[in-house]
């Protein structure tokens, strides 16, 4: 049961990186929850940028009737959970976290492309989510590099 038991093998700095990942993912989770609730309530999100309505009411804001923001919330929560487990020394969860973050990174790139070239409007909450994903990607790369060195 090595994969599901906590161990003491995580170096302090790796623990710190996982903790940082968990904290950063909470920012993304808050953002995604806000967007999901506003989407379901059908409100025009108030932004300082002018493109929020265009982006959030576009056909890309939901997939098969499911708000995209809710998928983001689920992804951020998954990353938070896995990073928390990894920070406490659970082995094996880091790989799954890396996979999810990689998918989030690619999705963020796609969504930025859609905002810039298809919808031609930017939503600050979507940009914040993309920024959080990029930070998570950077942290995951640092963790992966650390693991490769050991």
């Amino acid at each position: 049961m090595e994969n599901s038991q906590p161990g003491n093998s995580a170096a302090p700095s790796a623990t710190l990186l996982y903790a940082a990942t968990a904290i950063v993912s909470l920012v993304g989770l808050s953002d995604a929850i806000y967007l999901t609730v506003e989407h379901l309530a059908g409100r025009s999100v108030k932004c300082t940028l002018s493109g929020c309505s265009e982006v959030l009411s576009s056909q890309y804001a939901s997939f098969a009737g499911i708000p995209l923001a809710s998928v983001g919330a689920a992804a951020y929560f998954a990353v938070f959970s896995l990073a928390t487990l990894a920070a406490f020394g659970y082995q094996g969860v880091g790989k799954l976290m890396t996979l999810i973050v990689a998918l989030m990174f690619l999705t963020s790139l796609w969504l930025i492309y859609l905002q810039a070239f298809v919808i031609k409007a930017f939503c600050q909450f979507c940009l914040l989510s993309a920024f959080v994903t990029f930070v998570l990607t950077a942290l995951t790369v640092m963790i992966a590099k650390r693991s490769a060195r050991r």
Partner: protein, 258 residues
């Protein structure tokens, strides 16, 4: 029972290991709980159904509406009246009054526009539509200018013509640098006196009407656009699709026995 004997094992290495194993799950469950509560509070804050006054003042446009007894106790007892007279389409004695708080630059409002027109056609004299200005500033840079244009048109009795032009041509002007000539062209197309329109657009009357509608919106807890009330009850956004809105209006007519 010897309490000290029970807790002594907790501080041993085994106890700490056990705590370390359980703690992340406690944190995860706690965060999940907080997320659910936060989402619920957010949703609740955006969907409170405002109560209407039990004896509406003449300026409050509620026809056939009864006080919403099921409304939460936190809703305001009296809603602000809004600009008077309001912009209305349909007979004064229509059993259903549909009041829209709209922003001419808001894309979902633009999408709702043809839906409301369809409902007006389908339900005929049984529905009247009221439009209230709720420009989302600064999110929509031209929303206030559009609201002013519509209100200035209203002074010349051309509000609904301008309303139609603003919504149907939303994509033409929403990204324009200067909307003034575009709106002036709409004013001319609607058969307005352009000089008077130019004077009215910056007038206090126009500004005050928008202010009063905004005040009414805030008193009703309107947070975004479009927000629609049917006989004083807020219609959830997801029910603004034509097939659902049709059902909501029909249900209201059935409730009133019309």
């Amino acid at each position: 029972m010897n309490c000290s004997a029970d807790v002594s094992g907790f501080f041993t290495g085994k106890g700490i290991d056990q705590m370390k194993r359980v703690l992340p799950f406690v944190i995860i469950v706690a965060v999940f709980g907080v997320a659910i509560v936060a989402a619920w509070s957010l949703k609740r804050s955006g969907t409170e159904v405002p109560a209407l006054p039990s004896s509406p003042s003449p300026a409050i446009i509620v026809t056939g509406a009864s006080p919403n007894e099921a409304a939460p106790a936190t809703t305001p007892a009296v809603a602000d009246a809004g600009a008077d007279p309001p912009h209305v389409q349909g007979p004064a004695d229509a059993p259903v009054t549909l009041e829209e708080f709209g922003d001419f630059q808001c894309p979902p409002c633009g999408l709702l526009h043809p839906i409301l027109k369809t409902m007006e056609k389908e339900f005929g004299d049984r529905v009247r539509v009221v439009f209230r200005e709720f420009p989302l500033v600064p999110a929509h840079e031209h929303a206030l200018a559009a609201a002013r244009a519509a209100e200035a048109a209203g002074i010349q009795g051309k509000f609904w013509q301008m309303h139609e032009l603003l919504y149907t041509n939303q994509n033409t002007w929403k990204d324009a640098f200067d909307v003034r000539p575009i709106f002036e062209e709409y004013a001319t197309r609607s058969g307005m006196n352009l000089e008077k329109y130019r004077q009215d657009i910056t007038s206090e009357t126009v500004q005050y009407r928008i202010f009063l509608d905004g005040k009414r919106a805030r008193s009703l807890g309107v947070k975004g656009t479009p927000t629609v009330f049917i006989n004083g009850r807020e219609v959830p956004f997801e029910s603004l699709a034509p097939e659902k809105l049709r059902l909501v209006i029909s249900a209201e007519l059935t409730r009133l026995g019309k």
